[in-house]
């Protein structure tokens, strides 16, 4: 037997594209946020409401990732924002190469902010950097307050955590200890910004908008 030390990064192909995307975005001074969550947490509803309510302040484009269909892209298209749909045909995450191609199709120069809506999955997308400026994790209260403890990787890597569907907390429709979810997310990530919101009623969205607008203006992520 002969043993050869290799020492090569395995996902170097993804990293190569991610690095290209970073260059592409920083050269143009564009903020790009990668939204990650379980299926059904409300990512598309959050994006559609955000685009509509910030229409006069910042120009937003969207890259939609789904295994099948362009249902989400249709919902974004209704807001008149430019959108590119990627179908991963079974893959559980978006890759940096797919984002590289989508960025070339979006009218990036006319935009201030690009959202990437990743495939609904709290695990795999956290392992693939896309060259984004930051990751945003969405947790809806119906999923349970134990998710930051159970899926620590994505909460450790995210700049912002949106706790969505807080309207369900009124009337006790779900048991969700918001302080526990916040504390567990902060155990591994002291810097994480946490905004409890309801994309349905609009409650709490102003705090998220303030953060977005100041991030776009400062161009610091």
């Amino acid at each position: 037997m002969k043993k050869i030390d290799v020492g090569k990064k395995i996902l170097s192909e993804n990293e190569k594209y991610a690095f290209e995307n970073i260059l592409f975005l920083t050269e143009r001074k564009k903020l790009c946020l990668n939204i990650i969550s379980s299926p059904g947490s409300g990512k598309t509803t959050i994006l559609a409401r955000t685009i509509n309510e910030l229409k006069d302040k910042i120009k937003i484009g969207v890259i939609e990732g789904d295994i099948q269909t362009d249902i989400d892209a249709e919902r974004i298209r209704a807001t008149k924002a430019p959108v590119i749909q990627i179908n991963t045909e079974g893959a559980c995450h978006l890759s940096a190469a797919q984002i590289s191609a989508a960025l070339k199709e979006l009218p990036v120069d006319d935009l201030d902010l690009i959202f990437i809506e990743n495939v609904g999955n709290l695990v795999c997308p956290s392992a693939f950097d896309l060259g984004e400026s930051g990751k945003i994790v969405v947790l809806s209260v119906a999923e349970g307050d134990d998710k930051p403890a159970k899926y620590p990787a994505i909460f450790a890597k995210s700049k912002v955590m949106l706790i969505n569907k807080i309207d369900l907390l009124d009337g006790g429709h779900v048991d969700f200890d918001i302080d526990r979810a916040k504390a567990d997310a902060r155990r591994l990530n002291k810097e994480i910004k946490i905004f409890p919101i309801s994309a349905k009623t609009g409650e709490g969205m102003a705090n998220w908008y303030d953060w977005l607008i100041s991030s776009v203006n400062k161009n610091i992520f």
Binding site: K3, V6, G7, L11, S12, C124, L188
Partner: protein, 114 residues
Amino acid sequence: MHEMMVAQSLIETISDEAAKYNAKPVGAIISCGTLNTVNDEALRFAFEAIAKDTPCQGVKLEIEHKPIRARCKDCNRDFPVELSNPVCPKCGSEIFELQPDAPLILEQIEFQTD
């Protein structure tokens, strides 16, 4: 399930090295961090499935998991982080700085010699 992509990338790299050394690979050691969430069983299954009819067929994978480390801001201790209970083992502090997670690396390939 993203182990499929990891397996694909692994097979390409091992096959390239095998061609370079003109030898049959029989084993490989890879290492990964804590936050890149590689499941051993899923990776071995994916690797075996894609390796069929490639130079990597029959290659045995050894997977080393490297714990993510942190430095305690209270007592300065450098320690491996227990994700389910992230506290400094020396002073019990919860104030620490997380170090970068180890990337996925193909460390070593074992080739058949005859």
